[in-house]
Symmetry: C2
Subunit: 317 residues, 2 copies
Amino acid sequence: MTNKICDLLKIKYPIIQAGMVWVSGGKLAAAASNSGALGLIGAGSMKPELLKEHIIKAQGLTEKPIGINVPLLYHGVEDQIKTALDLGIRIFFTSAGSPKKFTKFLKDEGCIVVHVTSSPLLAKKCEDAGVDAIVAEGFEAGGHNGRDEITTMALIPQVRDAVSIPVIAAGGIADGRQMAAALCLGADAVQIGTRFAVTKESSAHDNFQQAIIKAGFGDTKLMMKEVVPVRLLKNKFYDEVQELENRCASKEELIALLGKGRAKAGMLDGDLEKGELEIGQVSAMIQKSLTCQELVDQLIKQYDQTKSLLASLNLAK
Amino acid sequence: MTNKICDLLKIKYPIIQAGMVWVSGGKLAAAASNSGALGLIGAGSMKPELLKEHIIKAQGLTEKPIGINVPLLYHGVEDQIKTALDLGIRIFFTSAGSPKKFTKFLKDEGCIVVHVTSSPLLAKKCEDAGVDAIVAEGFEAGGHNGRDEITTMALIPQVRDAVSIPVIAAGGIADGRQMAAALCLGADAVQIGTRFAVTKESSAHDNFQQAIIKAGFGDTKLMMKEVVPVRLLKNKFYDEVQELENRCASKEELIALLGKGRAKAGMLDGDLEKGELEIGQVSAMIQKSLTCQELVDQLIKQYDQTKSLLASLNLAK
């Protein structure tokens, strides 16, 4: 049986390396694509000039297709999209905004469009807007997150039942067992963020990578729900947010504390005290930085073992 | 290959019907056991006399083994345990307390002991205390829940890696896709609450069952974190809790609002306004009340279909 996402995106394995702000530049995207997955440049944190640099870098490192992830809420998104189109990018993962906004335009330009959702209702709207596939992301995922707090386990079957286009599961997937589980839930593929952040080719600062490796069970939490929910690794900045939230501080106070540049400071520059460290619950499962090729090989090997294990269990006796 | 939980509990399918306060009496436990699962009486809400009635009722309805779930935090737990032992119960699921408290005593009485956890650290403590298996329950589960907010997808592989005794996954499991996913994650079996609450044999009031059936996506939320985290269906009582939490009310105010008897009022007596309705995220997936036999047959059929689907996908090409 063929896989719909492998066919759609012309990739070997149904694995998407998530576009992550400050973490997934051209180097990571190229390495992920070279490993048999689809690599995405996280354009959310990039001005058009920087995005151009990263796309050109990636194209120099791989002959395979790469895509970009574009959060639609930022000012200047048209320039990002134009820059990518001019450089030949034809795979767009859009998020944080209406799928109606750019899907038709991108489809008319011959692009594949995938939109990120966290509910079956939005998934249906994406399908109606004409996207090729959707990413459905659960509560356990790192970074920005939905308001309904629905986990991957509960989310994917509901999204699967709501649409007929392919579904990519995201949130809580770091190993081959979780990949197999996501496919059982009805997903056609998986999108993996946190685990790809801790790779040799990721632009996550080494301090940040080490902090993820050291992270234990329960060391991330979904915060800033009054502003926009975001899953953070616990550090000094997290403590400050927690303190404000414990006394029901206003949205304005939270926005003032957040200020500007904290995600870059933490994730790219490695400031583990002041930085905003966006990462998922599976941080606790990561013991080592790997190359993308090692990671993908490990995922597929464990996926195959899991599949065999499930096949060997005969319940209907 | 044999299944460790089926062998341990002498059941046909690796499915446990969760012990739920006010919902799982003798009738539900017997029907679940007759259907090939293991039925549990939720003793948490029962005085010894009532527990005795329910055990005798269950024993009159099935020849298969049943178990009881005993939260260890309540006053009078010794009497509950003694009552159950005297009536021949030899399967105990303990929760909400230290696994050291009763495990040795129960093992000396020839019982099988399973303890409920929400972290790999506590799972290891359970193993060290000599339990036969553990239930690992994720954030999406109904009712009382762990403080770390770790989802089933992220939790089960970590618990699997932490212990060598069998693991039963709970939280977010209502259909055969989710059951197969849980087994991929490393669980040996699943514990299902919410889906068994909406059965013909459940003692959940019809009003409550209808409310679960009507519930849509995002209609439950984990609340009362200052007291003890509990996942509730949104209703008037929920709104009142939300209002207190929005203004950072004290723990004492929350306890005063909760008062006494709200869970019984909502779940057994069907008061949908004042009642506390403890239920999981998968409420949104439930469309109909079934008999236990219909439910178990459906679970196994869809589990087998999912297994075949996974087997038909060949990724390593």
